[in-house]
């Protein structure tokens, strides 16, 4: 089958990593996945095409309105591909009534001017099938499809046993693990959780070496956020410095796995809205490719559903975050056992091969 992905690719955001993997997996399985548009030097491994009629389906991967192409391309696309062969993957749950969780929301009308009904009507106008990367969509007419997956070939280091992994992880020379904690992600609806996380680990800061925060917008609250009184990009750089957190530039998608592997721990955090809707992201899976112990700061139900039962020990659990990290430092083999078992679970249940087959089944149904 020939699939035409439609999205807005950037090296450091959204679905670039997942689409790159769909392209490779489709090729391996005898299909073809191509990006819509003119070829782009930043994404040399991704083929591009504007020959809409040469494809069986158009797969729109949408986070925000600007992920749809502009004119004239949008007209070519909609004229060339009939509605029944268009599918939207709604990555941020905009195809729902307006939902506000803390200061997160699926419809930021004050930023983009769009009311909730516009998302619903526009998506309905474009495609018969709307997919969301959650196992429990709120709307009856949404098809659950996780979209993101686990690429075991991207795992940075394979270990023959948890003890080997723990030994490498605990090595005292510090060469392999210069950081105690690293988080890679943009400052978008994550500050309140990250702040609590970094504050919580202060009692064991001395055992963790440096803490790293990489992504857009961690150095200051942007002027437009101040102007719009928008709380979703709050940040306190002084507080971060005081907590021993170093801020750095954002990383391109191709460097994230390696960078995270330089840290002993990497938290996985979802926006409040995503936790509410059960939406998964690329990072939900990709962090398990890094040579690190992921700390799942997610609702236990999500962890159980997505990562499997072994991953529950990678959450703070009832003991709390500090106690859990203490135990991980004291008994790393126990937790590496959980990491390796979770990797196996992800490889079995959430591989991109499996995702592609699920997508094809949805398209053919």
């Amino acid at each position: 089958m020939k699939l035409l992905f439609v999205s807005r690719l950037e090296r450091w955001a959204r679905a670039v990593s997942a689409i790159t993997r769909y392209v490779a997996v489709a090729r391996r399985l005898g299909h073809e996945a191509v990006m819509f548009g003119d070829s782009h030097a930043d994404f040399s491994s991704i083929p591009y095409s504007t020959d809409v009629k040469a494809f069986d389906f158009a797969i729109f991967v949408i986070y925000e309105a600007l992920d749809f192409p502009d004119l004239p391309y949008l007209a070519y696309l909609l004229d060339g591909m009939p509605k029944e062969r268009r599918v939207i993957i709604d990555c941020s749950g905009v195809y729902n009534k307006t939902i506000t969780i803390e200061h997160d929301s699926n419809h930021f009308e004050q930023l983009n001017g769009h009311q909730g009904w516009e998302w619903i009507e526009s998506f309905s106008a474009v495609a018969n099938k709307i997919l969301q990367p959650t196992v429990r969509p709120l709307r009856q007419d949404v098809i659950p499809f996780l979209f993101f997956g686990f690429d075991s070939s991207a795992v940075a280091k394979h270990y023959s046993s948890p003890h080997d992994a723990a030994a490498a992880w605990s090595a005292k020379d510090g060469a392999g693990k210069p950081y105690g904690i690293a988080y890679v992600g943009h400052n978008w609806q994550r500050w309140s959780q990250l702040r609590l996380f970094f504050e919580a680990v202060q009692p064991i800061k001395d055992q963790l070496s440096t803490m790293q925060l990489r992504g857009w917008g961690w150095d200051r609250r942007p002027d437009w956020a101040v102007q719009h009184e928008f709380a979703g990009v709050d940040v306190d750089p002084t507080l971060l410095r005081g907590l021993g957190v170093e801020i750095g530039e954002t990383l391109p998608f191709s460097e994230v796995i390696e960078f995270q592997g330089r840290a002993k721990f990497c938290p996985i955090i979802h926006r409040p809205l995503y936790n509410e809707l059960g939406l998964v992201t690329n990072r939900t899976f990709e962090t398990f490719c890094s040579d690190t112990i992921p700390i799942l700061m997610l609702p236990p139900s999500t962890v159980l559903e997505i990562h499997g039962p072994d991953a529950l020990s990678l959450t703070p659990g009832s003991e709390g975050l500090v106690a859990r990290l203490h135990d991980m430092i004291d008994r790393p083999a126990v937790y590496w056992d959980a990491v390796l078992k979770t990797r196996s679970h992800l490889a079995a249940q959430h591989s991109y091969e499996r995702r592609l087959q699920e997508l094809l089944a949805i398209l053919e149904n």
């Binding site: 309105a65 600007l66 749809f68 502009d70 004119l71 004239p72 949008l74 007209a75 070519y76 909609l78 004229d79 509605k83 983009n112 001017g113 769009h114 516009e118 998302w119 009507e121 526009s122 998506f123 106008a125 474009v126």
Partner: protein
């Protein structure tokens, strides 16, 4: 016919007055004419809708920008309204070859910008309308679009005019004509004139973004010269107050950016100024003035000796009032919004 207008609505600029007049004329003729959007008290007289499915035709009123059509709205337009039912009113003559007038005014920055614009228009709509009777591009349908709405007329007042001369319009590609023709003329007769006022955007100060956007030619100004000539400035007024504002002066001068004159593009101001209780003097070629306003229009063309004409109008207002009334009769007969609505309906059906 059900017609939906879409535009980047602004209360103090653009075509919002024309939309309000189309709504009224449409009602008289049995057409349902509506502007896309939600009701907004800043825009009295406008009928609104966000339901695309109820309309036979959509007309995008575009000036020099088109990005106000959001992607979500585009999705609905492109999927719910057949291409043959979509038309663009190209108010600023952008759907043309690259045109630069006297190395000054221009419709596009360069050929790439022109191709980008034309590509977007071609993708969006089947018909391109321009408010001119003589389009350069054979693919363009000439539709005058803007018209005369006598319901906007105000009661004449013979006294308490606050100004002798007023200019209502934004400082947008007008400075060269104003600084080289109008201001020298005013200077030569200034002692014989009372108050003078320029109403509109950017007559008091050049905004800081002008240089960033490389718009120094489009928005230029000499504040000292205004002060020296005793010219007051006032901010732009909403469309509901334009005619009232114009009526505060004995004479109103209409200028038009050079590109528009070259393309013979009509604007709302061509007709709005004749609704005011004032003597309109239009800085147009007399032939162009006559083609729009009828024979009396020649008399109101501010052409040649500008200073003498201004002074003559101040000193012999009755002579000019006669020409103004003749023009109003001509406009009522040939350029009313009833006529315009029929022309628009014909163009959309063609």
């Amino acid at each position: 016919m059900n017609i939906l207008f879409m535009t980047d609505k602004r209360a103090n600029a653009g075509s919002i007055q024309a939309v309000a007049s189309y709504v009224r004329a449409g009602d008289e003729l049995g057409h349902n004419i509506v502007l896309y959007g939600r009701p907004d008290p800043k825009y009295p007289g406008i009928r609104w809708s966000t339901d695309l499915s109820s309309f036979d035709h959509v007309v995008f009123i575009c000036e020099f920008e088109i990005h106000w059509i959001s992607r979500l709205l585009l999705l609905r337009i492109l999927t719910q309204i057949p291409r043959k039912s979509r038309a663009i009113l190209d108010a600023d003559g952008m759907y043309n070859p690259l045109i630069a007038v006297d190395m000054y005014d221009r419709n596009h920055r360069d050929e790439d910008a022109r191709a980008w614009w034309v590509g977007r228009c071609d993708a969006l709509a089947d018909k391109i309308l321009q408010p001119t009777l003589e389009p350069l591009n054979p693919a363009v349908l000439p539709v005058p679009f803007y018209g005369y709405d006598p319901t906007l007329r105000v009661e004449p007042r013979t006294h308490d005019k606050r100004f002798d001369i007023m200019h209502v319009g934004h400082n947008w590609w007008r400075w060269r004509e104003i600084s080289t023709l109008l201001l020298p003329a005013i200077e030569s007769i200034r002692p014989k004139l009372d108050g003078i006022c320029f109403v509109g955007l950017w007559w008091d100060v050049i905004p800081p973004w002008v240089r960033e956007l490389n718009l120094e030619l489009a928005i230029d100004l000499n504040v000292d010269r205004f002060k020296q000539l005793g010219i007051q400035t006032r901010p732009a007024v909403p469309f509901t107050e334009v005619v009232t504002a114009m009526s505060e002066a004995r004479i109103n001068i209409m200028t038009q950016r050079p590109l528009f004159r070259r393309l013979k593009l009509l604007t709302a101001k061509y007709f709005e100024i004749f609704c005011a209780d004032t003597i309109p003097l239009v800085m147009l070629d007399p032939d162009q003035a006559e083609s729009v306003y009828g024979p009396a229009g020649r008399e109101l063309a501010l052409h040649g000796n500008v200073a003498a004409k201004l002074l003559d109008a101040i000193q012999r207002p009755k002579q000019y009032q006669k020409a103004v009334e003749d023009v109003r009769h001509h406009l009522s007969a040939h350029h009313s919004y009833r006529v315009r609505t029929r022309q628009l309906v014909d163009a959309l059906q063609s």
